[in-house]
């Protein structure tokens, strides 16, 4: 009997390591395509190492180099897909090409409760013909959204220009350009002796929204992309650039161009040259989205040129229009990771994303490791000066944050159940701490605490919002019209702005006609149909 027990014990002891080996998942290398340029993480990256320890999964990243549509077009032609892929702003090409598997085969209430709870309320919006191909990466807000600053569109102006004019209230383009003109006249060069540039218009490639988007905002609408939707008129759609209400804006630009506020070189510079120019501190203002020129702001702050950094103003055509520059976050349809048909173990990857969506992992992704990357005081998540400096240091980030993976993964945003902000950049205490003395003083002069207070808080979104999420991929004719109208706008609007005195009106007529000849009306009716259908489905 005793012998039997002993042998049983021995057998159990022998099986123990086997059991341990079974519990540890087999190592798996997952290839990842990221549709944006990122820095390659270091090989001993802290967070990726944690993931490898817990899931046995290693990542091999391919980041975008060059043009996105071309890269995807070539990948599709060769069926050359990574295991998980983000098509970024052109994910529809991949969906249309059959790159992705339907994730609803794996995501359901019992197997993946986290992912299910995360996406279920939006299922109507994020599925394509009943299938879920991409897990949206941004815009899924838990509890309250926190807004400290405008990350999106605005008319930007150097803080020192407002300070010079004794902190005026600027609401219309008239006032805005008048101030820029007066300041430039008084300061033809900067303190470094560089010529002052009044107003820049970036037109490089897809970033030419700086040229194309302002009018919808001047009309009091949020960013729908290249169209204006008449909410009060059965959602009639305008491709607005050649409409009568766009003319005053471009005519104003033409007027200030004649006065030397805009330099013609602005229409031929590329993005890098634009950022270099803003970073030099000699550009007084521009229309742009904050994330687009954030690098320039960082450069200015690094040189302690706080007065040359920008504050966003929500300009509107006239004072009776309420600005709507800040919008409610919208779930980022089709932007994020999907799993490709080439992937051998989709179930395991879905299970990983499921596990990464729990609060412990979300905190690691957003904030890092407690004690190393942040500390907790009275329940609030905070950072020491060194931890803050680390978080802003790209070299440190490459070694200590899973930036690219997290960027495209489903993530929690808004506020944690314990009241802290998910995103450290939005944690109010940290935001105020990080502000320079100059900024604090500047905002105090306006009687404000955050730059977001210049803007009207966002009202609820229309159900369809925004139009730029509409997938044109299944409609090649509409894509053609859209591409062609884009080419015409990009070609003619700069010419209009540079038009000689007296030529503007004639050129405007020609431009308006060229646009409508390209199939504008057909496109507008088509979009209206889609919007009405979406409103019906999502309301």
């Amino acid at each position: 009997m005793q012998r039997k027990l002993l042998s049983l014990l021995l057998i159990l002891a022998m099986m123990l390591p086997l059991g341990l080996a079974l519990a540890e998942p087999a190592p798996l290398t997952v290839t990842v395509f990221a549709g944006d340029p990122f820095d390659q993480p270091t090989s001993d990256n802290k967070i990726y190492k944690l993931i490898e320890e817990e899931f046995g999964i290693k990542f091999e990243f391919e980041f975008l180099a060059g043009d996105l549509d071309e890269t995807l077009g070539i990948k599709i032609a060769g069926q050359d897909y990574a295991d998980i892929m983000s098509g970024s702003n052109s994910a529809e090409m991949l969906i249309d090409a059959g790159t992705y598997i339907d994730l609803l085969d794996y995501i359901n209430e019992t197997d993946t409760p986290n992912l299910w709870a995360h996406f279920e309320p939006y299922m109507n919006r994020i599925t394509v013909d009943g299938g879920l191909y991409v897990m949206p990466s941004f815009g899924r807000i838990y509890n309250d959204a926190i807004v400290n600053y405008q990350n999106g569109p605005a008319f930007w102006i150097q803080k020192k220009v407002l300070a010079w004019d004794n902190y005026p209230t600027i609401t219309t383009p008239e006032q805005y350009f008048d101030l820029l003109l007066r300041y430039k006249e008084a300061h033809p060069t900067t303190e470094d002796g560089l010529p002052t540039s009044g107003f820049e218009i970036l037109t490089d490639g897809w970033r030419n929204f700086c040229l194309l988007n302002p009018v919808q905002h001047l009309m009091g609408h949020p960013n729908d992309g290249g169209v204006f939707v008449h909410w009060d008129d059965n959602y009639r759609v305008d491709v607005f650039h050649n409409k009568d209400y766009s003319k005053p804006y471009y005519q104003k630009l033409n007027e200030v161009f004649q006065k030397g506020l805009i330099d013609q070189d602005t229409f031929v510079q590329n993005f890098d040259q634009y950022i270099a120019k803003l970073s030099s501190g000699r550009v007084l203002g521009m229309f742009d989205q904050y994330w687009n020129f954030q690098n320039a702001t960082d450069a200015l702050i690094a040189r302690q040129m706080y007065g040359e950094t920008y504050i966003g103003l929500p300009l509107v055509y006239s004072e009776d229009i309420t600005d709507h520059y800040i919008d409610q976050p919208v779930i980022n349809v089709n932007r994020g990771f999907g799993i490709s048909v080439n992937c051998k173990e989709p179930k395991r990857i879905v299970d990983m994303f499921e596990a990464l969506l729990d609060d412990r992992w979300q905190t690691i992704f957003h904030w890092g490791i407690e004690g190393e990357d942040y500390y907790v005081e009275n329940g609030r998540y905070l950072r020491t000066a060194e931890q803050k400096a680390n978080a802003e240091n790209p070299v440190w980030v490459n070694a200590n944050k899973a930036r690219a993976l997290f960027f495209y993964s489903p993530k929690k945003e808004g506020t944690m159940d314990n009241g802290n902000s998910w995103d450290p950049a939005l944690q109010p205490e940290l935001y105020f701490d990080m502000m320079s003395e100059y900024d604090k003083e500047f905002l105090t002069s306006y009687g404000m605490k955050t730059p977001a207070e210049f803007f009207t808080p966002a009202p609820p979104n229309e159900p369809y919002y925004p139009v730029w999420q509409i997938d044109l991929q299944p409609y090649p004719d509409m894509r053609d019209i859209n591409t062609q109208m884009g080419d015409i706008q990009a070609r003619d609007l700069p010419r209009l702005i540079m038009a000689a005195p007296g030529e503007f009106d004639g050129m405007w007529e020609t431009f308006a006609k060229t646009m409508s000849d390209a199939g504008q009306a057909e496109y507008e009716v088509f979009l209206q149909g889609i919007i009405l259908e979406m409103n019906e489905r999502l309301r």
Binding site: D67, M93, D96, D204, Q264, D265, Q273, R491
Partner: protein, 317 residues
């Protein structure tokens, strides 16, 4: 005589016999033959997609046939016709600039007596060939900006009163592209002419000198005729490549420098294909445009070859 006959084969002697006689030559050509079959002829099968509404994920023959719709779509687009014009205009400008500059540089270098100086100049002029187009175009954009060095020189010489907007006005674009291309490639292209000049028999120069020919006469009557066959062969090849994508002037410069407002002058066939074909997932269109380019190339190549034959010049085919 006998040897020639052996190489060309005698009628009636039999293909296999000739093949056996020339087996070493035949074996040597096998790798190239395979290469051409595999990379040039086999892909022609893909031309079939020009007649389809093609999606790569769908098995080939499940794609719907659309007849000539991709072709008619191309030729109904004003932009495509402009792109054809731009491609030809820029190619011809590049061809003329490149040939003239390469021959001119080669002739000048050939006349330099100092070996060291000649070597230095040669190295300096062909180095830009190894720069990427991104860098070259970046340099050019700085040089030709409104406040760039070119405008400053022109202003200080009093040739212009206002800076010229080189980068933003369509009518300058083709010429600017030609000049940039010439700057990058002149040195490189001159190498082949220099080598063919070195093959000219020095006795000819000596004889001419004894007859009292000066430097210019020697260039006109010995150097230039000496490189004529090289010139003609290269010209035929370059004409064949006028619209081809391997001709970097057709893509890199206009892609990097053709800003939005220049599009009427800068959009070439290749860029059009990228924008309306590949970027939109319309592979059938892209293939149709590719077929069109190939047909034009073949036509140009044979025409140039025929003209050369008429003029009793060496030919390629």
């Amino acid at each position: 005589m006998d040897r020639t006959r052996k190489l060309t084969g005698r009628p009636g002697r039999g293909f296999l016999r000739t093949l056996w006689d020339q087996r070493q030559l035949a074996l040597m050509s096998v790798p190239m033959l395979l290469y051409v079959l595999l990379f040039s002829y086999a892909p022609l099968w893909g031309w079939i997609t020009a007649f389809m509404s093609y999606k790569p994920a769908v098995p080939l023959f499940d794609n719907p046939w659309v007849g000539l719709r991709n072709f008619s779509w191309l030729f109904s687009r004003q932009e495509f016709l402009l792109a054809i014009r731009n491609t030809f205009a820029m190619s011809v400008i590049n061809l003329v600039f490149n040939t003239v500059s390469a021959i001119g540089l080669a002739v000048l270098l050939n006349e330099v007596a100092s070996r060291r100086y000649k070597r230095t100049v040669q190295t300096v002029t062909y180095l830009p060939h190894f720069l990427s187009w991104v860098i070259v175009v970046g340099l050019a954009q700085n040089a030709f900006a409104t406040d760039g060095v070119v405008n400053q020189v022109l202003l200080s010489l009093g040739l212009i009163r206002q800076p010229l907007f080189f980068l933003g006005e369509g009518r300058y674009f083709w010429w600017l592209a030609g000049i940039i291309h010439m700057w990058k490639e002149a040195g490189w292209n001159s190498i082949i002419y220099l080598s063919s000049m070195s093959a000219i028999d020095p006795a000819l120069y000596e004889a001419a000198e004894i007859d009292g020919a000066g430097r210019l006469r020697k260039i006109m009557h010995i150097t230039l005729p000496g490189i004529k066959s090289t010139f003609v062969i290269l010209l035929i090849m370059n004409i064949g490549m006028l619209v081809s994508g391997t001709n970097d002037g057709n893509f890199d410069i206009p892609y990097l420098m053709g800003q939005n407002l220049l599009i009427d002058w800068s959009q070439t066939i290749d860029i059009f294909v990228l924008k309306y074909g590949i970027s939109q997932g319309q592979y059938g269109r892209a293939t149709a445009a590719g077929i069109f380019k190939s047909l034009v190339s073949i036509f140009l190549l044979f025409s140039a070859n025929r003209i050369a034959r008429r003029l009793d010049e060496p030919t390629l085919l």
